[in-house]
Symmetry: C2
Subunit: 333 residues, 2 copies
Amino acid sequence: MHMDRLATPALVIDRDVLDANIAVMSALRPGAALRPHVKAFKSTSLARRLAEAGHLGFCAATPREILGLAAAGLGDDLLLANEVLDPERLRELADCDARVTVAVDSVETVDAAARAGIREVLVDVDVGCFRCGCPPADAGRIADQARAAGLEVRGVMGYEGQLMMTPADERSERVAEAMAPLLDAHEAVGGEVISGGGTGTCLENTFVTELQAGSYTLMDTHYASQGLPFQQALSVVCTVISVNPGGWAVADGGLKALGMDHGNPTVEGYEALYFSDEHVTFTPGADGRLPEIGEQVRVRPAHVDPTVAYHESYRIVSDGQVVDDWPIDLRGW
Amino acid sequence: MHMDRLATPALVIDRDVLDANIAVMSALRPGAALRPHVKAFKSTSLARRLAEAGHLGFCAATPREILGLAAAGLGDDLLLANEVLDPERLRELADCDARVTVAVDSVETVDAAARAGIREVLVDVDVGCFRCGCPPADAGRIADQARAAGLEVRGVMGYEGQLMMTPADERSERVAEAMAPLLDAHEAVGGEVISGGGTGTCLENTFVTELQAGSYTLMDTHYASQGLPFQQALSVVCTVISVNPGGWAVADGGLKALGMDHGNPTVEGYEALYFSDEHVTFTPGADGRLPEIGEQVRVRPAHVDPTVAYHESYRIVSDGQVVDDWPIDLRGW
């Protein structure tokens, strides 16, 4: 089927761009040096392509992502890079058919993991992101508590999320500064794993043993501004449903098809005016023209993760043809 | 079950507040004078409560919302208040077990509706929202085209979305200005229906025969600032998973649980610092304290519609007890 017959709004992956992004990152971080973060794309079909590219360990932000990967046979080495206290969901993680490691950053999260039967943990360390992670000086104590509770401590993790949009010429220095306390914490904690980083620091973070990156596969306009060696594979394809002689047009994708926290997505070839629940209103671009009713337009998301979480599936496109359909089967919590 | 045992993030409706909101609006706009807009809440369970309150006609923004209402036996009089060109989905609407009216604003949308076997339409008129709707002067011509194509024209609709956040003391005047061209268009079009309005203009829009409002049922912080006679029934209940001695805490609801286009949601009792994919980071509120790890916090959405679209179900709470579970069964397109 040609993509001009897609029911819209449709979340579309350009397969050739995706494949190129995967190849570039696999060259930078081969095999276990990359632990792809599935929160960015939430699909076991895409995860399987990464496994085929040699990355057998995955990183996740929710219990459902872990359970879905396990059920899909992708459970070689799964890291829940997030703190969870819920005993039921922790027990499901402990009981699923996979090697599951969870992040802990407090005595409470250590206790919850141990009581649920979790076997392996990483100590999550605050590296300046103002989110989870213990103060670096507490990491050794938390590792001791975990070992005392019977948990295997595989090492440390720390996400320098505050640096994902740092200008390229400052990135090396700032990543080194952020990783220094993580390396100190690792000295105190022990174990083989130092996990961290993301798409935005994939070139500079040479301190971790494994990079946690997912957005590089699909990319968005925010990351595209950062001079990274990846191209945008993701778009929301919409149909123009109304053209007003006043000088604007409206397509059928809006706030329920696009994450908006990074600002307005980009309507290719036009100027986005505003987004409402199920619509984007736009004005002419440089060529001064508006589309016809029924034409498709491509909207490039500003933030991949909360965009993907709205959709049920990806339509995979190559050379204008829809060649596959991948369920977004890791949504929810 | 007490709500403190909820798996989080949980989308929670306070049932008593919802019931009060429904009662207030039913007094203002009884029976068919209100056509509740299901796009705000996307649940046939909530729609059924509105039907029980006497509102048997519904308004929707997507084909799936219409088909779901029809399948739930709520198909007395359904309006797709949006333009659709897709022949397959229009045919599904024509064939479903419901009275379905669709909006048209161009010869293309008239033709698509007629070819698919749709029987009834409203002419959608631009009343200043910079979205769909024909220029008022074109409405008569489009009605003629629709009748020539064999469609029954029930009247007109026009959404004054640009006025939903107008200060209360200007609203009457501005609503009257926006509705004047709709009334002119109605003169040219004929039919019994003048449909329009929304939660933000429910007190002032006395020009329409039926008000299209949905957000009033659940409310959000944006509408709550408008002095309307409705209270916030909706929250995202989260669990505190990390507390940092540096002075912040983190709970387990973020960009994939909350629509962000209206700015930051509110963390009750605290100051939201920022939201990331699965987290909200917050600092102490007026009392200077942070919660304990494991405590619940309530996050009030800034925009109800794109928040609801992320979730699978509502947990219905009354007096702190979870009393019901309503599927959000009208998601997608």
